[in-house]
Amino acid sequence: AQTVTQSQPEMSVQEAETVTLSCTYDTSESDYYLFWYKQPPSRQMILVIRQEAYKQQNATENRFSVNFQKAAKSFSLKISDSQLGDAAMYFCAYKGPRNTGGFKTIFGAGTRLFVKA
């Protein structure tokens, strides 16, 4: 079965600096999708960034970028120029291919990010 592991329960970063959140996953599939979601105190889950496993190029969305290492099954999130509004719980998530029940997404336990002013 697929699993997603976030080994950092909490992280903190100084405003305007860069922080990297770690995520590893386990799968025997070669075609899948990876996501980072953000959950601020409002509890709304917000999609931050996504990566398709068949693409070698790392995804970027403004200040957010990923380091996708397929062989190592690693998918870290880098937040540059951190802002107070980035403080939230961040979830790494995996979605498998369609023919193996790929409609459902598996979430990691989350990393709580604190941003210090």
């Binding site: 999708y33 996501f35 979601y37 409002s42 509890r43 709304q44 889950m45 917000i46 999609l47 996504r50 398709e52 979830f91 998530a93 979605k95 291919p97 369609r98 029940g101 790929g102 409609f103 459902k104 997404t105 598996i106 979430f107 990691g108 336990a109 989350g110």
Partner: protein
Amino acid sequence: DARVTQTPRHKVTEMGQEVTMRCQPILGHNTVFWYRQTMMQGLELLAYFRNRAPLDDSGMPKDRFSAEMPDATLATLKIQPSEPRDSAVYFCASGIRQGNGYTFGSGTRLTVV
């Protein structure tokens, strides 16, 4: 922006009572999910539907939980009878394409006393 609407936002009920949570997915999204979030278990998938048909509800306690999608604009999650261990935030999410992420609702915080 299109959004997934969940009602109620908060619900406090007594043990043994029936609870119904509702979700209006984004128009055009054909896949709907129910997740439960607790501190201990994190985000657990309870059930999901594609084109209104239930595809997987293996994450749901069948004796007390039921999920339905009577039409394309409404998904429901019912607990009968409710128990204190059901206290959690229940999220509905919808999506359309395999590679896209989901859009989540704001969740229903359920407290069973």
